[in-house]
Amino acid sequence: MLSLMRRQRFLLNCAPISANQSGDRSMRLALSRADGSVEFANQQKFDRAVSGVVRLIPIPAESAEWFSEKDLLPVSNWTWKKMVRNPAVLAISIAVAVIAGVFVFNFLSHLNDFPGSTTARKLLTIAASTRPVMLDPVNAEAGTLSDLFFMKHGLEHYDVPPEFADFDTIGCRVFEDDESRRIAQIWVSEKRMQFFLFPAERDSKTGAVLRFPGWRYVHQEGWTGAVTLQSGVCFMAAIRGPDKDLEPYLAKPKE
């Protein structure tokens, strides 16, 4: 309480001379409490009189010349144009634009992600580097290879979907990827397409298959893959070219 009164006393001693020096809330409060005080009224009259004499100080003509030369002390014109030209602002803007670009690129790249898309992209890279001699020659329809994969390699449900089952096979193989998953690769004569069958992605906690509906596209190094999930195994038809090269096969599902 005492310190509050002292502060108000201090504020009154610094009270504004004229009304246009609007004080803050604490000053206004102090002024309202001092209203009617003779001592304060004398102080105000004293200050106004001194200030009145100060206002009478004449300005020499030499000094007054400065007042008309407004350009000597230009008011700092803050404009968007000026701000944009500031190297620091420019550098920050470019950096933000690049970061935003990378962010948008990553966002768009992963917009069509689905469980297994990462593996599918890796397999597209393998497809691009595979040569026919690397595969075991097989002369049969792709749909018949399910039995071969089951009998020879113990791979269950490694079935080629009906859409691609009738294509003649050039060769096939089974290999392990860098995560020791067993991948079946089939090369068919139709547009030199390659098929991949690989285990579907599973939930790390429950072990349940992470499902996705229908056909999903992935792209990597000029190759396109159409991936679908059936019985816990993913099938990917890979082709060098755009989506439209695969679309005709997917549009008409066979019975």
């Binding site: 002292r6 502060r7 006393r9 201090f10 504020l11 001693n13 610094c14 504004p16 001379i17 004229s18 020096q21 609007s22 004080g23 803050d24 000053m27 001592e39 004398n42 102080q43 009259k45 004293f46 200050d47 106004r48 009189a49 001194v50 200030s51 009145g52 004499v53 100060v54 206002r55 009478l56 100080i57 004449p58 300005i59 020499p60 030499e62 000094s63 007054a64 400065w66 007042f67 000597l72 002390l73 230009p74 008011v75 700092s76």
Partner: protein
């Protein structure tokens, strides 16, 4: 920057109150503005609102640093008289400026800034780098000393 803060006539008056001499006040005023104009040309104007006054204050203090300093002695102090206003009205601006410029700093700066009626107390605290209690004490002391001087200068009015 609000126009009020770039009030150049007030800047000159501030220099005059600080120095009590029109010639010196003009020198400091011109030097401050010349420097400001150069800084403006290089796009280096400070962003703070009353940098011109801060700069001028520093120049005034520098200008008087080498001057002969008055011997320090305790000035008389009187309570503010009801008729003080009529005593003050008889003062010539130069007399007032000489009296203010003779005060030791920071009292001189405080009185000059306060009686310009240009700044609120927050701004004066910032410009003079003081606390509220110090500003209050310096103003009270300044008023009482000025009253004593007025009483000595115009005794017949003080006795009314």
């Amino acid at each position: 920057m609000p126009d009020r803060k770039q009030n150049l006539p007030q800047l000159y008056r501030f220099c005059f109150l600080m120095l009590g001499d029109p010639r010196k006040a003009q020198d400091v005023f011109h030097a401050t503005l010349r420097d400001a104009a150069q800084r403006a040309a290089h796009g280096e104007l400070p962003s703070e609102p009353f940098w011109l006054f801060r700069d001028a204050r520093w120049r005034c203090m520098e200008a008087t640093k080498t001057d002969l300093q008055p011997e320090s002695f305790k000035l008389d102090e009187h309570e503010i008289a009801p008729q003080a206003a009529s005593q003050i009205e008889r003062l010539d601006p130069t007399q007032l400026a000489i009296w203010i410029s003779g005060a030791p700093d920071p009292q001189r700066s405080v009185l000059a800034l306060f009686y310009l009626d240009e700044f609120d107390y927050h701004e004066i605290l910032d410009l003079a780098d003081l606390k509220l209690s110090e500003l209050s004490r310096l103003l009270v002391k300044g008023r009482r000393q000025l009253q004593a001087w007025l009483d000595a200068k115009f005794p017949q009015l003080g006795e009314v």
